[in-house]
Symmetry: C2
Subunit: 205 residues, 2 copies
Amino acid sequence: MAAAALFAACGQQESPQQPVDPAQVVMNNILSRKSVRSYTADTIPAQVMENLLRAAMAAPSGRNIQPWSFVVLTDKSRYDTIFEGNFNLNMFKQAAAVVVVCADTTVVRPPRENPDAPAVQQPNGIWRDDMGAVTENLLLAVEAHGLGACWTACYPYPDRMEPVKQALGLPATVVPYSVVPIGCPAGDEQPKDKWDPSRIHHNMW
Amino acid sequence: MAAAALFAACGQQESPQQPVDPAQVVMNNILSRKSVRSYTADTIPAQVMENLLRAAMAAPSGRNIQPWSFVVLTDKSRYDTIFEGNFNLNMFKQAAAVVVVCADTTVVRPPRENPDAPAVQQPNGIWRDDMGAVTENLLLAVEAHGLGACWTACYPYPDRMEPVKQALGLPATVVPYSVVPIGCPAGDEQPKDKWDPSRIHHNMW
């Protein structure tokens, strides 16, 4: 398969081939990422979804614990149950797919103070930091493929998490962290300009 | 200034101009990001540092609170104090710059249940999620510019946070979240391959 075909989505036959500075392409992608909340009826090719999840799993992970898992939803018949009471339900139903980005809040390892002891299940105090990076990688890959997505928070809200946990059968130690609807943009949402030099300090606050 | 010059770092006159698929460039950058822990003596051009921080500030933010600030350190004479007891001190000293990515754990807003009331300072329960995305954007921009960096955790470790807060004079509600040394890679660190299809579920766990 031609490389270009691996990255085509939203009805493109292939992405444009242009002479570009790779650093500039990456910067443009980061600065172009936006919340997209309405979608066409187009589906997401399996190879593109794999790219998106490959990007997500390339996130940095504290102590390399990699606490993440993903439930890819396309069976909309169950969304009323999975997202009961969630004010984003209609947005989820419109999207071609919804990725529930999950985190195991525990880690199975020898105790840190005794690395030679048998592995035990223990709380992972830094799983939440990884998950922000995972979700952002997913969103940036979405943008790069010409798709649109919106990061909606699930953790730390019990009323949003509980229906998802029950309906998807998540293990007891796994929480649904973020819920990310993905599809081809139906509108023309634009990125926010958040650049604010006053947030930058040099050597002292 | 030519666009290419804005993205040059590590002694490059300009980045290579090649016909490329933008989606593939972004994917390659995400998959190439790695922890770089040793650096040459090269400095970081001011325009490149601005690009890096511009990328960081383009992160998504729950309720658009944008809790982030950045302290860019280049005055190594104070690192012994700022990073007292931090086992990464020598890595920080070798880097051209160290970015302390900070978070305000509060937000000044009207109470959510009474939007017409005067703004009050209140805890922001979701600041930590934004900060993972901010740090990842910074790391991805670093990679795109041919530089190297390493995400080191500061929050939630009191023994690492306290010297930084004191030495940099952070406001009481601001925490040092991550500490990111940045420089031109001296070695040949490679990205980890974390792709694991068993982490993907479809419609049910």
